[in-house]
């Protein structure tokens, strides 16, 4: 599905339990094909579990996760054999994969383009080079859906840009859907047009970034002076005499009531939105 109209991932009341603990619970969302999506959440929110289920590595305890087309997966550890030469990793992957699934020439070209000598051992590469080799090997499957688990963790800023540039260039060229997890929103803010926010194993927010930002307002004004309808507030915080609140636009009175008219209202940035949903006191169902 690369025509941009289908659904790449559809999770329906997805749940995963390890022993007594639910790593994921009641997760429902759809990721349209062709999107570049950020899977955001604090450590332990269930991001890796969700990606592993989507990659077919784990079976869910409850609900379903449907994935359309072939999947490429990049584990957080980058998971390459450190004693192997890059050329050996390429050869190995060719042996593991079914011939019709594997585009070895493409993977080799990506490694070449990254300027990595294939005679070097994986363990001797910089973290950025290792990440790019791993991405090249994941892309060598020509996946319809590319799953990246914390692809930028432990990378320096230049390497982050290089890895991200490689992923975005190849994905947009092939129409690949990308779902990448991160606990740092700044890493994925520019690249992503879709958001899935996990917290405590539940999907708190999911949807196209533009639509989500349109559905929220960032209100600022003097502390204590304004009565914002409590049901609209995702998160309100007061610093000194200033109150800042991220609110759901749909729950605000329309036209604006007098009580909120003293507040400045702006369209939030993605980081405002994410930070609000990561911090709000409500641990209940999806927003």
């Amino acid at each position: 599905m690369t025509d941009g109209t289908g659904v790449a991932v559809r999770a329906d009341r997805l749940g995963k339990r390890y022993g007594a603990r639910w790593a994921l619970r009641d997760c429902s969302f759809e990721l349209p094909a062709g999107r570049t999506a950020a899977l955001v959440g604090p450590n332990g929110a269930g991001k890796t579990t969700l990606l592993m289920i989507a990659a077919g590595l784990l079976r869910p305890t409850a609900g379903t996760a449907e994935v359309t087309g072939s999947v490429g997966f990049l584990a957080q550890s980058k998971a390459l054999y450190r004693t192997f030469r890059v050329a050996e990793m390429l050869r190995l992957t060719g042996r593991l994969e079914a011939a019709e699934r594997w585009d070895g020439a493409y993977a080799s070209r990506l490694v070449d383009e990254a300027g990595i000598d294939t005679e070097r051992r994986v363990g001797r590469l910089t973290p950025g080079e290792r990440a790019r080799v791993a991405v090249a090997l994941a892309l060598g499957r020509r996946p319809d859906l590319l799953l990246l688990d914390e692809p930028l963790a432990e990378l320096d800023p230049l390497a982050r840009r290089q890895v991200m540039g490689m992923v975005l260039a190849e994905a947009s060229g092939a129409g690949t859907t990308v779902l990448m997890s991160s606990h740092v929103i700044a890493d994925v803010e520019e690249a992503c047009d879709h958001l899935v926010l996990l917290r405590g194993g539940r999907v708190r927010v999911a949807g196209p970034v533009d639509a989500l930002l349109d559905q929220h307002r960032l209100l600022t004004g003097p502390a204590g002076g304004a009565g914002i309808p409590a049901e609209a507030v995702v998160l309100a915080s007061t610093a000194g005499r200033q109150t800042t609140a991220l609110v759901r636009a749909a729950a605000l009175p329309s036209p604006p009531a007098k009580s909120t008219s003293g507040l400045a209202s702006a369209r939030p940035g993605l980081e405002d939105l994410v930070m609000a949903y990561l911090q709000d006191a409500n641990d209940g169902g999806a927003a």
Partner: protein, 304 residues
């Protein structure tokens, strides 16, 4: 997947080859030295007093634990290293199922340890043969039985299976080593020390006191028999007759309490292959059991 297992385990496999080569050299030189200057003895205790005693004694002791070493080398890191370093995620997301990942590792590992153990068993039997013939040691003695025939192969297989399974289930090579050493020792002590002598009901011969002679075989117990056919232990008879022994000869004393015969229980040497088959079957079943338990990690309900 086969290529990957070889490539990943090649250091372990080279170490296995090195262990076998060292043994071949040691055993061959020992045999040559003995043939050059043989020292025939009455039994294996006397053999221990000769200059070939250490060769025979240490040789058998170390050969008995070599299966453990081979199993640890090939098995402990087989899955645990992959899981510790998360590299299994690479394999499992590049067209390889959990089952294929597990099966290829197990099959290649089994193949390597079985070939190594077979070579060792054959070379050990061949190298010790001249000494054993001269010393007349039973093929059922714990040392000889454990290093010859097919039993060493079965022990090696068990050590490998236990190490591989423990490594997969604990996700730790160190834990796999500890579990395998403890498990191997426990199984060996129970089998060789307790169960083996009763794999088949022992043979019993009765005869005049001091006149029962069993040639070969593994002697288990000697006792007295009274006129009614009841068995009386040597120690019990000695306790009863302590006073009598001070003044009379033993036959007279024994006659006083009605003891007329002695009896010897033993396992004859011709049961060697039956015992080898029984013990190997037990070990094979244990190996299969631990591998089956480890295969529960093939269910996708849990992370590998």
């Amino acid at each position: 997947m086969t290529w990957l297992v070889w490539r990943r385990q090649r250091v372990a496999f080279l170490l296995v080859v090195a262990v076998v080569l060292v043994w071949v050299v040691v055993l061959t030189s020992g045999r040559q030295a003995y043939l050059a200057a043989p020292e025939p003895t009455d039994d294996f205790i006397a053999l221990g007093m000769t200059r070939f005693g250490p060769f025979w004694g240490f040789g058998h002791s170390f050969l008995l634990i070599t299966p453990l070493l081979l199993g640890l080398l090939t098995g402990a890191g087989l899955f645990s290293r992959d899981v510790e370093q998360q590299t299994h995620l690479f394999v499992l997301t590049h067209g390889v199922s959990r089952r294929r990942w597990w099966t290829s590792g197990v099959l290649i590992g089994c193949g390597v340890v079985l070939i190594a153990a077979a070579v060792l068993s054959a070379v050990a039997s061949w190298a010790f043969a001249p000494l054993d013939v001269d010393a007349g040691e039973s093929v059922l003695s714990p040392a000889k039985f454990g290093v010859s025939g097919i039993v060493p192969l079965a022990y090696t297989l068990f050590a490998f299976a236990l190490a591989a399974a423990a490594g997969l289930l604990t996700r730790s090579a160190l834990a796999a080593v500890v579990i395998t050493v403890v498990g191997y020792a426990a199984v060996m002590i129970v089998l060789a020390g307790y169960l083996r002598v009763d794999y088949l009901p022992p043979m019993v011969v009765r005869g005049p006191i001091g006149g029962v002679e069993v040639v070969g075989g593994l002697q288990l117990n000697t006792s007295y028999v009274d006129g009614s056919g009841a068995e009386i232990g040597l120690e019990e008879a000695f306790r009863t007759l302590r006073g009598c022994y001070e003044t009379h000869d033993s036959r007279t004393c024994l006659a006083q309490i009605g003891i007329t015969e002695e009896q010897v229980t033993f396992q004859p040497d011709d049961r060697y292959w039956a015992f080898q088959a029984i013990e190997s079957t037990i070990l094979l079943l244990l190996s299969a059991a631990v591998l089956v338990v480890s295969a529960m990690r093939l269910r996708k309900d849990v992370p590998v």
